[in-house]
Protein backbone atom coordinates (compact mmCIF):
# COMPACT_ATOMS: atom_id res chain seq x y z
CA UNK A 1 0.00 0.00 0.00
CA UNK A 2 1.30 3.47 -0.90
CA UNK A 3 1.98 5.62 2.15
CA UNK A 4 2.89 8.62 0.06
CA UNK A 5 1.85 9.62 -3.43
CA UNK A 6 3.04 12.83 -5.02
CA UNK A 7 1.87 13.68 -8.51
CA UNK A 8 3.34 16.24 -10.89
CA UNK A 9 4.74 18.50 -8.18
CA UNK A 10 6.08 21.79 -9.48
CA UNK A 11 7.49 24.80 -7.69
CA UNK A 12 9.02 27.96 -9.07
CA UNK A 13 10.75 30.63 -6.98
CA UNK A 14 11.01 33.70 -9.19
CA UNK A 15 13.14 32.75 -12.20
CA UNK A 16 14.20 29.42 -10.68
CA UNK A 17 12.21 26.28 -11.46
CA UNK A 18 13.03 24.49 -8.20
CA UNK A 19 10.86 21.41 -8.81
CA UNK A 20 9.51 20.45 -12.19
CA UNK A 21 6.92 17.69 -12.39
CA UNK A 22 8.07 15.31 -9.68
CA UNK A 23 6.11 12.07 -9.22
CA UNK A 24 6.92 10.02 -6.17
CA UNK A 25 5.44 6.98 -4.50
CA UNK A 26 6.63 5.49 -1.21
CA UNK A 27 5.22 2.22 0.07
CA UNK A 28 4.82 0.89 3.58
CA UNK A 29 8.19 0.00 5.15
CA UNK A 30 10.00 1.12 2.02
CA UNK A 31 13.22 3.12 2.26
CA UNK A 32 13.44 5.67 -0.51
CA UNK A 33 16.39 7.91 -1.26
CA UNK A 34 16.23 11.27 -2.96
CA UNK A 35 19.61 12.19 -4.41
CA UNK A 36 20.90 15.06 -6.41
CA UNK A 37 23.46 17.85 -6.45
CA UNK A 38 22.96 21.04 -4.45
CA UNK A 39 20.05 23.02 -5.84
CA UNK A 40 18.50 19.98 -7.52
CA UNK A 41 15.24 20.51 -5.61
CA UNK A 42 15.53 17.81 -2.93
CA UNK A 43 14.74 19.99 0.09
CA UNK A 44 11.98 21.87 -1.73
CA UNK A 45 10.43 18.52 -2.67
CA UNK A 46 10.63 17.29 0.93
CA UNK A 47 9.17 20.56 2.20
CA UNK A 48 6.26 20.28 -0.22
CA UNK A 49 5.62 16.75 1.02
CA UNK A 50 5.54 18.11 4.58
CA UNK A 51 3.28 21.05 3.79
CA UNK A 52 5.96 23.65 4.52
CA UNK A 53 5.92 24.78 0.90
CA UNK A 54 2.76 24.90 -1.21
CA UNK A 55 3.26 23.43 -4.69
CA UNK A 56 2.40 25.63 -7.67
CA UNK A 57 0.72 22.57 -9.12
CA UNK A 58 0.46 18.88 -8.40
CA UNK A 59 -0.89 16.96 -5.49
CA UNK A 60 0.42 15.28 -2.35
CA UNK A 61 -1.56 12.56 -0.66
CA UNK A 62 -0.58 10.38 2.26
CA UNK A 63 -2.46 7.39 3.61
CA UNK A 64 -5.02 8.17 0.90
CA UNK A 65 -5.63 11.64 2.32
CA UNK A 66 -4.97 14.92 0.54
CA UNK A 67 -2.30 16.84 2.49
CA UNK A 68 -3.83 20.28 1.94
CA UNK A 69 -7.26 19.20 3.13
CA UNK A 70 -6.25 16.82 5.91
CA UNK A 71 -3.12 18.49 7.17
CA UNK A 72 -3.61 17.78 10.90
CA UNK A 73 -4.46 14.14 10.44
CA UNK A 74 -1.64 13.53 7.95
CA UNK A 75 1.02 15.32 10.00
CA UNK A 76 0.09 13.37 13.12
CA UNK A 77 1.28 10.24 11.28
CA UNK A 78 4.45 11.71 9.78
CA UNK A 79 7.65 13.11 11.26
CA UNK A 80 10.73 14.93 10.06
CA UNK A 81 14.32 15.31 11.08
CA UNK A 82 16.99 17.46 9.48
CA UNK A 83 20.53 18.22 10.49
CA UNK A 84 19.97 21.95 9.94
CA UNK A 85 17.04 22.32 12.33
CA UNK A 86 17.38 23.65 15.84
CA UNK A 87 15.63 22.86 19.10
CA UNK A 88 14.71 25.29 21.87
CA UNK A 89 18.18 25.92 23.25
CA UNK A 90 17.36 26.63 26.89
CA UNK A 91 15.36 23.44 27.34
CA UNK A 92 16.73 20.20 28.65
CA UNK A 93 16.50 17.26 26.27
CA UNK A 94 13.85 15.64 28.46
CA UNK A 95 11.69 18.80 28.24
CA UNK A 96 12.10 19.02 24.47
CA UNK A 97 10.91 15.44 24.06
CA UNK A 98 8.02 15.89 26.48
CA UNK A 99 6.87 19.06 24.73
CA UNK A 100 6.97 17.40 21.28
CA UNK A 101 5.21 14.31 22.66
CA UNK A 102 2.36 16.63 23.61
CA UNK A 103 2.52 18.53 20.31
CA UNK A 104 1.92 15.19 18.57
CA UNK A 105 -1.07 14.53 20.83
CA UNK A 106 0.38 11.37 22.39
CA UNK A 107 -1.76 9.59 24.96
CA UNK A 108 1.11 8.78 27.31
CA UNK A 109 4.02 11.16 26.68
CA UNK A 110 6.08 9.84 29.61
CA UNK A 111 5.99 6.23 28.39
CA UNK A 112 6.77 7.08 24.79
CA UNK A 113 9.60 9.44 25.71
CA UNK A 114 11.15 6.64 27.81
CA UNK A 115 10.90 4.30 24.81
CA UNK A 116 12.62 6.59 22.32
CA UNK A 117 15.25 7.56 24.89
CA UNK A 118 16.13 3.89 25.25
CA UNK A 119 16.03 3.31 21.50
CA UNK A 120 18.38 6.22 20.74
CA UNK A 121 20.49 5.62 23.85
CA UNK A 122 20.23 9.24 24.95
CA UNK A 123 19.48 8.66 28.64
CA UNK A 124 22.67 10.45 29.75
CA UNK A 125 21.63 13.53 27.75
CA UNK A 126 18.21 14.03 29.31
CA UNK A 127 19.30 16.67 31.79
CA UNK A 128 21.48 18.57 29.33
CA UNK A 129 20.42 21.75 27.55
CA UNK A 130 20.03 21.21 23.82
CA UNK A 131 22.34 24.20 23.25
CA UNK A 132 25.12 22.29 25.07
CA UNK A 133 24.92 19.17 22.88
CA UNK A 134 27.52 18.23 20.31
CA UNK A 135 26.23 18.06 16.75
CA UNK A 136 26.16 14.26 16.93
CA UNK A 137 24.15 14.32 20.15
CA UNK A 138 21.87 16.95 18.66
CA UNK A 139 21.19 14.67 15.68
CA UNK A 140 20.28 11.79 17.98
CA UNK A 141 17.86 14.02 19.93
CA UNK A 142 16.32 15.23 16.66
CA UNK A 143 15.84 11.61 15.63
CA UNK A 144 14.31 10.78 19.02
CA UNK A 145 11.91 13.66 18.46
CA UNK A 146 11.17 12.30 14.99
CA UNK A 147 10.28 8.84 16.31
CA UNK A 148 8.03 10.06 19.13
CA UNK A 149 4.74 9.63 17.29
CA UNK A 150 5.75 6.23 15.87
CA UNK A 151 5.44 7.75 12.39
CA UNK A 152 4.24 5.80 9.40
CA UNK A 153 6.42 8.01 7.22
CA UNK A 154 9.68 9.46 8.45
CA UNK A 155 11.25 12.16 6.29
CA UNK A 156 14.96 12.65 6.88
CA UNK A 157 17.04 15.42 5.37
CA UNK A 158 20.74 14.48 5.75
CA UNK A 159 20.07 12.37 8.84
CA UNK A 160 23.67 11.44 9.63
CA UNK A 161 25.44 14.52 8.26
CA UNK A 162 26.86 15.51 11.65
CA UNK A 163 27.77 12.05 12.93
CA UNK A 164 31.12 10.28 13.02
CA UNK A 165 31.31 7.00 11.03
CA UNK A 166 30.59 4.82 14.06
CA UNK A 167 27.60 6.86 15.25
CA UNK A 168 26.41 7.19 11.66
CA UNK A 169 26.52 3.43 11.16
CA UNK A 170 24.56 2.82 14.37
CA UNK A 171 21.91 5.35 13.38
CA UNK A 172 21.62 3.82 9.91
CA UNK A 173 21.16 0.35 11.42
CA UNK A 174 18.58 1.72 13.81
CA UNK A 175 16.61 3.44 11.06
CA UNK A 176 16.66 0.36 8.87
CA UNK A 177 15.47 -1.83 11.75
CA UNK A 178 12.69 0.68 12.54
CA UNK A 179 11.58 0.51 8.92
CA UNK A 180 11.74 -3.29 8.72
CA UNK A 181 10.17 -4.00 12.12
CA UNK A 182 7.47 -1.34 12.34
CA UNK A 183 6.69 -0.80 8.67
CA UNK A 184 7.65 2.87 8.91
CA UNK A 185 8.48 4.21 5.47
CA UNK A 186 11.62 6.33 5.22
CA UNK A 187 12.25 9.08 2.70
CA UNK A 188 15.85 10.21 2.87
CA UNK A 189 18.09 12.77 1.27
CA UNK A 190 21.80 12.40 1.74
CA UNK A 191 25.10 13.25 0.15
CA UNK A 192 26.58 10.10 1.61
CA UNK A 193 26.32 7.69 -1.32
CA UNK A 194 27.43 4.70 0.69
CA UNK A 195 24.65 5.40 3.17
CA UNK A 196 22.04 5.63 0.44
CA UNK A 197 23.37 2.49 -1.24
CA UNK A 198 23.20 0.51 1.99
CA UNK A 199 19.84 1.76 3.19
CA UNK A 200 17.56 2.50 0.28
CA UNK A 201 15.33 0.11 -1.62
CA UNK A 202 14.58 2.72 -4.25
CA UNK A 203 16.58 5.78 -5.23
CA UNK A 204 15.40 8.77 -7.23
CA UNK A 205 17.94 11.07 -8.81
CA UNK A 206 16.92 14.70 -9.03
CA UNK A 207 18.55 17.16 -11.38
CA UNK A 208 17.28 20.68 -12.07
CA UNK A 209 14.04 19.88 -10.29
CA UNK A 210 13.27 16.68 -12.24
CA UNK A 211 13.60 13.04 -11.39
CA UNK A 212 16.02 11.88 -14.05
CA UNK A 213 16.55 8.29 -12.96
CA UNK A 214 15.01 5.83 -10.50
CA UNK A 215 15.77 2.34 -9.31
CA UNK A 216 17.85 0.38 -6.83
CA UNK A 217 21.52 1.26 -6.42
CA UNK A 218 22.52 -1.72 -8.59
CA UNK A 219 19.96 -0.86 -11.25
CA UNK A 220 21.11 2.73 -11.43
CA UNK A 221 24.77 1.74 -11.67
CA UNK A 222 23.94 -0.68 -14.47
CA UNK A 223 21.77 1.90 -16.21
CA UNK A 224 24.58 4.44 -16.27
CA UNK A 225 27.30 1.87 -16.97
CA UNK A 226 29.28 2.60 -13.81
CA UNK A 227 30.26 0.60 -10.73
CA UNK A 228 28.52 2.38 -7.87
CA UNK A 229 26.17 5.13 -6.79
CA UNK A 230 28.95 7.64 -6.26
CA UNK A 231 29.86 7.38 -9.93
CA UNK A 232 26.22 7.65 -10.90
CA UNK A 233 26.01 10.84 -8.85
CA UNK A 234 29.13 12.32 -10.46
CA UNK A 235 27.95 11.38 -13.93
CA UNK A 236 24.53 12.96 -13.45
CA UNK A 237 25.90 16.04 -11.69
CA UNK A 238 28.69 16.69 -14.21
CA UNK A 239 27.39 15.39 -17.49
CA UNK A 240 23.66 15.60 -17.10
CA UNK A 241 21.43 12.73 -18.10
CA UNK A 242 21.97 10.80 -21.30
CA UNK A 243 18.97 10.93 -23.58
Amino acid sequence: MAILEAQSLTKRFGPVQAVDGVDLTVGEGEITGLLGPNGAGKSTTLHMLLGLVTPDSGRVSMFGLDLQRHRTEVLSRVNFSASYLGLPGVLHVREVLHSFARLYGLRDPRKRVAEVVELLEIGPLLKRRTSDLSSGQHTRVQLAKALLNDPELLVLDEPTAALDPDAGERIRNLLVSVARETGTALLITSHNMLEVERMCDTIHFLSAGRIVASGSAAELAAHFGVVDLEEVFLKVAREGVPA
Binding site: K11, F13, A18, S43, T44, H47, L50, G51, L52, V53, T54, R71, T72, E73, L75, S76, R77, V78, N79, F80, A82, Y84, L85, G86, L87, P88, G89, V90, L91, H92, E95, V96, H98, S99, F100, A101, R102, L103, Y104, G105, L106, R107, D108, R112, R129, K145, N149, D150, P151, E152
Partner: protein, 273 residues
Protein backbone atom coordinates in the same frame (compact mmCIF):
# COMPACT_ATOMS: atom_id res chain seq x y z
CA UNK B 1 -3.78 6.52 12.99
CA UNK B 2 -1.00 5.53 15.31
CA UNK B 3 -2.39 3.92 18.42
CA UNK B 4 -0.15 5.86 20.74
CA UNK B 5 -1.79 9.18 19.89
CA UNK B 6 -5.28 10.55 20.36
CA UNK B 7 -7.37 10.85 17.21
CA UNK B 8 -5.98 13.97 15.53
CA UNK B 9 -9.22 15.97 15.50
CA UNK B 10 -10.43 14.92 18.93
CA UNK B 11 -10.79 17.46 21.72
CA UNK B 12 -8.26 15.56 23.80
CA UNK B 13 -5.68 15.73 21.03
CA UNK B 14 -6.27 19.47 20.61
CA UNK B 15 -5.96 20.04 24.35
CA UNK B 16 -2.80 17.94 24.47
CA UNK B 17 -1.23 19.90 21.60
CA UNK B 18 -2.08 23.26 23.16
CA UNK B 19 -0.66 21.95 26.45
CA UNK B 20 2.52 21.11 24.53
CA UNK B 21 3.00 24.76 23.57
CA UNK B 22 2.35 25.93 27.15
CA UNK B 23 4.57 23.18 28.63
CA UNK B 24 7.42 24.14 26.32
CA UNK B 25 7.20 27.85 27.22
CA UNK B 26 6.86 27.15 30.94
CA UNK B 27 9.93 24.91 30.84
CA UNK B 28 11.85 27.58 28.93
CA UNK B 29 10.93 30.18 31.53
CA UNK B 30 11.97 27.88 34.36
CA UNK B 31 15.33 27.26 32.72
CA UNK B 32 15.99 30.93 32.13
CA UNK B 33 15.95 33.10 35.27
CA UNK B 34 16.77 36.13 33.13
CA UNK B 35 13.34 35.75 31.50
CA UNK B 36 11.61 35.84 34.86
CA UNK B 37 13.71 38.85 35.80
CA UNK B 38 12.76 40.56 32.53
CA UNK B 39 9.05 40.00 33.16
CA UNK B 40 9.31 41.94 36.41
CA UNK B 41 12.10 44.42 35.79
CA UNK B 42 10.59 46.88 33.30
CA UNK B 43 7.09 46.96 34.81
CA UNK B 44 8.54 47.60 38.25
CA UNK B 45 10.85 50.35 36.97
CA UNK B 46 7.93 51.97 35.20
CA UNK B 47 5.78 51.72 38.29
CA UNK B 48 8.44 53.24 40.53
CA UNK B 49 9.20 56.14 38.16
CA UNK B 50 5.57 57.00 37.50
CA UNK B 51 4.71 56.48 41.15
CA UNK B 52 7.13 59.14 42.28
CA UNK B 53 6.07 61.47 39.47
CA UNK B 54 2.52 61.17 40.74
CA UNK B 55 3.58 61.81 44.32
CA UNK B 56 5.34 64.96 43.15
CA UNK B 57 2.23 66.11 41.26
CA UNK B 58 0.04 65.30 44.22
CA UNK B 59 2.24 67.41 46.43
CA UNK B 60 1.47 70.22 44.01
CA UNK B 61 -2.29 69.72 44.53
CA UNK B 62 -3.09 68.04 41.18
CA UNK B 63 -6.33 66.15 41.98
CA UNK B 64 -6.87 62.39 41.46
CA UNK B 65 -3.43 62.13 39.95
CA UNK B 66 -2.03 59.23 41.96
CA UNK B 67 -4.79 56.76 41.27
CA UNK B 68 -5.24 57.77 37.65
CA UNK B 69 -1.59 57.60 36.66
CA UNK B 70 -0.85 54.44 38.60
CA UNK B 71 -4.00 52.81 37.26
CA UNK B 72 -2.87 53.81 33.78
CA UNK B 73 0.60 52.35 34.33
CA UNK B 74 -0.84 49.05 35.53
CA UNK B 75 -3.41 48.72 32.76
CA UNK B 76 -0.88 49.78 30.14
CA UNK B 77 1.29 46.90 31.29
CA UNK B 78 -1.60 44.51 30.62
CA UNK B 79 -1.80 45.69 27.00
CA UNK B 80 1.97 45.89 26.55
CA UNK B 81 2.68 42.43 27.98
CA UNK B 82 -0.24 40.78 26.16
CA UNK B 83 1.22 41.98 22.89
CA UNK B 84 4.88 41.33 23.64
CA UNK B 85 4.67 37.97 25.38
CA UNK B 86 2.77 36.27 22.55
CA UNK B 87 5.06 37.77 19.91
CA UNK B 88 8.17 36.79 21.88
CA UNK B 89 6.88 33.23 22.26
CA UNK B 90 6.78 33.02 18.47
CA UNK B 91 10.15 34.74 18.06
CA UNK B 92 11.81 32.25 20.38
CA UNK B 93 10.86 29.53 17.91
CA UNK B 94 12.38 31.63 15.13
CA UNK B 95 15.58 32.32 17.10
CA UNK B 96 16.08 28.65 17.97
CA UNK B 97 15.33 27.52 14.36
CA UNK B 98 12.52 25.43 15.76
CA UNK B 99 9.73 26.87 13.63
CA UNK B 100 9.96 24.12 11.00
CA UNK B 101 9.82 21.44 13.69
CA UNK B 102 6.60 23.03 14.90
CA UNK B 103 5.07 23.40 11.46
CA UNK B 104 5.51 19.71 10.67
CA UNK B 105 3.60 18.71 13.80
CA UNK B 106 -0.19 18.37 13.68
CA UNK B 107 -0.49 21.57 15.75
CA UNK B 108 -2.79 23.96 13.90
CA UNK B 109 -2.02 27.69 13.73
CA UNK B 110 -5.01 28.28 16.02
CA UNK B 111 -3.75 25.79 18.61
CA UNK B 112 -0.28 27.30 18.49
CA UNK B 113 -1.58 30.82 19.05
CA UNK B 114 -3.93 29.60 21.78
CA UNK B 115 -0.96 28.03 23.57
CA UNK B 116 1.03 31.25 23.29
CA UNK B 117 -1.93 33.24 24.60
CA UNK B 118 -2.46 30.94 27.58
CA UNK B 119 1.20 31.17 28.48
CA UNK B 120 1.11 34.96 28.14
CA UNK B 121 -1.78 34.99 30.62
CA UNK B 122 0.37 33.17 33.16
CA UNK B 123 3.20 35.67 32.72
CA UNK B 124 0.90 38.68 32.79
CA UNK B 125 -0.82 37.44 35.94
CA UNK B 126 2.55 36.97 37.65
CA UNK B 127 3.91 40.35 36.61
CA UNK B 128 0.68 42.15 37.45
CA UNK B 129 0.46 40.56 40.89
CA UNK B 130 3.88 41.96 41.75
CA UNK B 131 3.04 45.41 40.37
CA UNK B 132 -0.32 45.61 42.12
CA UNK B 133 1.31 44.66 45.41
CA UNK B 134 4.08 47.22 44.93
CA UNK B 135 1.60 49.96 43.98
CA UNK B 136 -0.27 49.29 47.19
CA UNK B 137 2.80 49.05 49.41
CA UNK B 138 4.65 52.06 47.96
CA UNK B 139 1.81 54.43 47.11
CA UNK B 140 -1.26 53.06 48.82
CA UNK B 141 -2.97 52.56 45.48
CA UNK B 142 -5.24 49.55 45.21
CA UNK B 143 -5.98 48.61 41.61
CA UNK B 144 -9.14 46.93 42.80
CA UNK B 145 -10.52 50.36 43.68
CA UNK B 146 -11.49 50.43 39.99
CA UNK B 147 -14.14 47.90 41.04
CA UNK B 148 -16.03 45.49 38.81
CA UNK B 149 -15.05 47.53 35.75
CA UNK B 150 -11.53 46.20 36.13
CA UNK B 151 -12.55 42.88 34.58
CA UNK B 152 -13.84 44.24 31.26
CA UNK B 153 -11.10 46.88 31.18
CA UNK B 154 -8.44 44.19 31.39
CA UNK B 155 -10.28 41.86 29.03
CA UNK B 156 -10.46 44.52 26.30
CA UNK B 157 -6.76 45.29 26.69
CA UNK B 158 -5.72 41.63 26.67
CA UNK B 159 -7.64 40.90 23.50
CA UNK B 160 -6.26 44.02 21.81
CA UNK B 161 -2.71 43.02 22.85
CA UNK B 162 -3.14 39.54 21.41
CA UNK B 163 -4.47 40.98 18.16
CA UNK B 164 -1.41 43.26 17.91
CA UNK B 165 0.83 40.25 18.61
CA UNK B 166 -0.72 38.42 15.67
CA UNK B 167 0.05 41.42 13.47
CA UNK B 168 3.66 41.38 14.72
CA UNK B 169 3.96 37.64 14.05
CA UNK B 170 2.49 38.15 10.59
CA UNK B 171 5.08 40.85 9.90
CA UNK B 172 7.93 38.47 10.76
CA UNK B 173 6.39 35.73 8.62
CA UNK B 174 6.05 38.15 5.73
CA UNK B 175 9.30 40.13 5.96
CA UNK B 176 11.58 37.78 7.88
CA UNK B 177 13.45 37.99 11.13
CA UNK B 178 14.46 41.60 10.48
CA UNK B 179 10.87 42.64 11.11
CA UNK B 180 11.03 41.52 14.73
CA UNK B 181 11.39 45.15 15.80
CA UNK B 182 7.66 45.39 15.05
CA UNK B 183 7.04 42.91 17.87
CA UNK B 184 8.58 45.31 20.37
CA UNK B 185 7.24 48.55 19.00
CA UNK B 186 3.79 47.99 17.51
CA UNK B 187 1.96 48.56 20.77
CA UNK B 188 3.70 51.91 21.21
CA UNK B 189 2.25 53.11 17.91
CA UNK B 190 -1.10 53.03 19.66
CA UNK B 191 0.05 54.66 22.89
CA UNK B 192 -0.30 58.33 21.85
CA UNK B 193 -3.92 57.89 20.74
CA UNK B 194 -4.88 55.43 23.47
CA UNK B 195 -5.05 58.23 26.03
CA UNK B 196 -3.10 56.19 28.54
CA UNK B 197 -1.80 59.04 30.67
CA UNK B 198 -4.02 61.91 29.50
CA UNK B 199 -7.61 62.33 28.37
CA UNK B 200 -8.33 61.90 24.66
CA UNK B 201 -9.87 65.39 24.70
CA UNK B 202 -6.39 66.98 24.77
CA UNK B 203 -5.61 65.47 21.37
CA UNK B 204 -6.20 67.40 18.12
CA UNK B 205 -9.62 66.66 16.64
CA UNK B 206 -8.26 64.38 13.90
CA UNK B 207 -6.42 62.28 16.44
CA UNK B 208 -9.53 62.14 18.61
CA UNK B 209 -11.32 60.48 15.71
CA UNK B 210 -8.45 58.05 15.43
CA UNK B 211 -8.53 57.44 19.17
CA UNK B 212 -12.21 56.55 19.03
CA UNK B 213 -11.27 53.61 16.79
CA UNK B 214 -8.74 52.30 19.32
CA UNK B 215 -10.34 50.03 21.94
CA UNK B 216 -7.70 50.95 24.52
CA UNK B 217 -8.71 54.62 24.47
CA UNK B 218 -12.19 53.71 25.73
CA UNK B 219 -10.65 51.63 28.50
CA UNK B 220 -8.34 54.37 29.77
CA UNK B 221 -11.10 57.00 29.50
CA UNK B 222 -13.39 54.64 31.37
CA UNK B 223 -10.82 53.96 34.06
CA UNK B 224 -10.34 57.67 34.68
CA UNK B 225 -14.09 58.16 34.85
CA UNK B 226 -14.52 55.34 37.38
CA UNK B 227 -11.64 56.55 39.52
CA UNK B 228 -13.22 60.01 39.40
CA UNK B 229 -16.38 58.55 40.92
CA UNK B 230 -18.50 57.87 37.83
CA UNK B 231 -20.16 54.50 37.21
CA UNK B 232 -18.58 51.96 34.87
CA UNK B 233 -19.34 53.17 31.31
CA UNK B 234 -20.77 49.88 30.02
CA UNK B 235 -21.91 51.39 26.74
CA UNK B 236 -18.40 52.61 25.92
CA UNK B 237 -16.97 49.28 26.99
CA UNK B 238 -19.38 47.50 24.68
CA UNK B 239 -18.09 49.69 21.85
CA UNK B 240 -14.49 48.82 22.82
CA UNK B 241 -15.35 45.12 22.85
CA UNK B 242 -16.92 45.50 19.40
CA UNK B 243 -13.76 47.19 18.16
CA UNK B 244 -11.73 44.34 19.66
CA UNK B 245 -13.73 41.87 17.59
CA UNK B 246 -12.85 43.84 14.45
CA UNK B 247 -9.14 44.01 15.42
CA UNK B 248 -9.01 40.27 16.13
CA UNK B 249 -10.79 39.43 12.89
CA UNK B 250 -8.35 41.56 10.88
CA UNK B 251 -5.35 40.14 12.78
CA UNK B 252 -6.50 36.54 12.24
CA UNK B 253 -7.07 37.19 8.56
CA UNK B 254 -3.61 38.76 8.29
CA UNK B 255 -1.99 35.86 10.15
CA UNK B 256 -3.60 33.16 8.02
CA UNK B 257 -2.92 35.11 4.82
CA UNK B 258 0.77 35.64 5.65
CA UNK B 259 1.17 32.01 6.68
CA UNK B 260 -0.32 30.96 3.35
CA UNK B 261 1.97 33.43 1.57
CA UNK B 262 5.02 32.17 3.52
CA UNK B 263 4.24 28.61 2.44
CA UNK B 264 3.68 29.68 -1.12
CA UNK B 265 6.90 31.70 -1.42
CA UNK B 266 9.06 29.23 0.52
CA UNK B 267 9.66 31.76 3.32
CA UNK B 268 8.61 29.29 6.01
CA UNK B 269 11.35 26.89 4.92
CA UNK B 270 13.93 29.63 5.23
CA UNK B 271 13.23 29.99 8.97
CA UNK B 272 15.09 26.68 9.31
CA UNK B 273 18.24 27.93 7.61
Amino acid sequence: MTAIAFEAHSTRARRRRIAGVVYRDLAAMRRSPIRVFEILFWPVIELVVWGYVTLFLQANKVPFVVSMLLGAVLLWQVLHRASNEVAIGFLEDVWSRNLINLHVTPVTPGEYVTGLILFSLIKIAGGLAVMVTLAYVLYGFGLFSVGIGLIPFMAVLLVLGWALALVAISSVLRFGEGAQVIAWSLVFVFQPVAGVFYPVSVLPEALQWLASAVPASHVFEGMRAVLGGAPVPWDTLALAAGLDVVYVAVALWLYTATLRHARSKGRLSRFGE
